[in-house]
Every structure is written in structure tokens, then in C-alpha cells.
């Protein structure tokens, strides 16, 4: 299917419109999770298997769970969904219409040319040493964080530590 990547990006925009039209935060979190899944599939289609897995595990499995718990704390009794009231539904509809207009514009003015596109990061085959080895480009690149970017690791680790301390100080209250 030639258009699978474009369809996934259209679904991504629709998911983003879904939580940007500000329903109740529980439904916004649901739309964000769906958008995260679609975004992970876009990254997978471009050949970045490691980064797609990182997004699933760390982003959806870590941060969205925290968001879900916090939204459950700050929720009201009758959460409004996309179908209740004209504001949320109107914003959602305007966003969808805009995206449909973009799809029609792309399909009409951009001609469909099937190009052999090497947009895959791909595997790097190593011929040196005993036998044949295989190296994934994206995971090796992320591992270079600890080699070329060792000062960045120190700064990021210190930032995380200070962030935890700041969170403790804020939630301690007065």
C-alpha cells in the first residue's frame, strides 16, 4: 500500500485534534495514547525500530501511566466527552475538516510517483571478525550518547536528580 505512511500521519493529526479540542482529561489521555501508538508505527515504518520501542515503553508505559493517575485525581463527576456540548465537538469537527482538506489537496496536486526510497536506517553488516554480525543503526546511534555525549549524560542525570528534588519540594506544600 503506497499511502500507508501518509494515512498514519493523517491519523496522527486526527488524534492530536482529539485531545487539543479539550474534552475532559481522561478522554484527552485516551486520544494521546492513540496518537502515541500511531506515532510509534510511523517511526517503525521509517526503519527506527529501537526508537519506536523506546516510545512505547518509556513514553506510553511510563509517562502516560503517571498522567492517567493524576487525571484520575483531578477529575470531576461528569466528564465531558467529544459529543457533549458544542465547544468540544465544534473544535473537533473544524480540525477534522482541516485535515480532510489537506488530504484532498495532497492527493490532487501531488502526483503519485512510486519511488524506491531508501528511508530505512537499515542494518549494518559487519564483516570483520569471526562470522557475520549485524548492527542496528538506530540503537548504535543512541548508544553513542554514552560515548560522544558523556557530558550530556552527566547534565541530564543531574537535571533528573534536581527535578525529583524540585517535585518533592513542591508537593511538600507550605
Amino acid at each position: 500500500m503506497t499511502y500507508v505512511l501518509f494515512t498514519l500521519s493523517v491519523l496522527l493529526v486526527m488524534g492530536f485534534v482529539g485531545f487539543s479540542s479539550k474534552p475532559s482529561p481522561i478522554y484527552g489521555g485516551l486520544a494521546l495514547i492513540v496518537s502515541g501508538v500511531v506515532g510509534c508505527m510511523i517511526i517503525l515504518n521509517y526503519g527506527g525500530a529501537y526508537l519506536g520501542l523506546v516510545m512505547f515503553l518509556i513514553y506510553l508505559g511510563g509517562m502516560m501511566v503517571v498522567f492517567g493517575y493524576t487525571a484520575a485525581m483531578a477529575i470531576e463527576e461528569y466528564p465531558e466527552t467529544w459529543g457533549s456540548g458544542f465547544e468540544v465537538f465544534g473544535c473537533f469537527l473544524v480540525g477534522l475538516m482541516m485535515e480532510v482538506g489537506l488530504v484532498l489537496w495532497v492527493l490532487e496536486f501531488d502526483e503519485v510517483v512510486v519511488v524506491v526510497s531508501l528511508n530505512d536506517m537499515g542494518n549494518w553488516v559487519v564483516f570483520e571478525g569471526e562470522g557475520l554480525e549485524l548492527v542496528r543503526g538506530d540503537s548504535i546511534g543512541a548508544g553513542a550518547l554514552y560515548d560522544y555525549g558523556r557530558w550530556l549524560v552527566v547534565v541530564a542525570g543531574w537535571t533528573l536528580f534536581v527535578g525529583v528534588y524540585i517535585v518533592i519540594e513542591i508537593t511538600r506544600g507550605n
Binding site: F6, F19, Y50, Y59, Y148, A156, G173
Partner: protein
């Protein structure tokens, strides 16, 4: 620019509008902030794959690290507001203190 890039930058812009225009809940703006982080992650991951350069893959990982920090601080502020006022409605925020 390929249509996929156009759609992802459009997603970023829609989330940006979602942060700047708020309705009643503060956590909805934090959700749109998470949407911005997701779109930045996707764009940098695609640039890394398209340019066939493995070293660019560092940038999405670092984006996730600092996004976790800012989400944690934003949620801590939300919790302290919710502890003071009961709900996180924005029209509760009249004083310059939590």
C-alpha cells in the same frame, strides 16, 4: 517537504494551539504539552532515519529525558493546586501562590 512531514508539523501546531487556548482544566494544557513532546520526538526520529546518520538518534532520547522532567514538575504543580482548591480549574488561580 513530504506530506508526512507536513502532517507532523501540523500536529505540533495543533498542540501548540491547545496549550495557548485553555478552557477549564489545567491538566488539559499539560496534555497538549505532552503532545508537543511526542511530535518533536517523531520528527527528530524521522530525520535521523532519513539522513542515514546514526548519531542524530541521540536527540530523541535527550528530548524524552527533559520531557520527563518537565512533565513531572508540571504534574507536581497541578497536584499542589488540586490540594489547595479541590479541582484544577483555571478560574481558581487568582492569587500568585499555589
Amino acid at each position: 517537504m513530504t506530506p508526512t512531514y507536513i502532517n507532523i508539523i501540523l500536529a505540533f501546531t495543533i498542540s501548540l494551539l491547545g496549550i495557548l487556548i485553555y478552557r477549564s482544566h489545567l491538566i488539559a494544557s499539560l496534555l497538549c504539552l505532552e503532545g508537543i513532546i511526542i511530535s518533536l520526538f517523531i520528527i527528530t526520529a524521522l530525520i535521523a532515519s532519513n539522513a542515514h546518520s546514526p548519531l542524530i538518534n541521540i536527540i530523541p532520547i535527550i528530548i524524552l529525558v527533559f520531557a520527563a522532567c518537565e512533565a513531572a514538575v508540571g504534574l507536581a504543580l497541578l497536584i499542589s493546586i488540586s490540594n489547595t482548591y479541590g479541582l484544577d480549574h483555571i478560574n481558581n488561580l487568582s492569587l500568585l501562590q499555589c
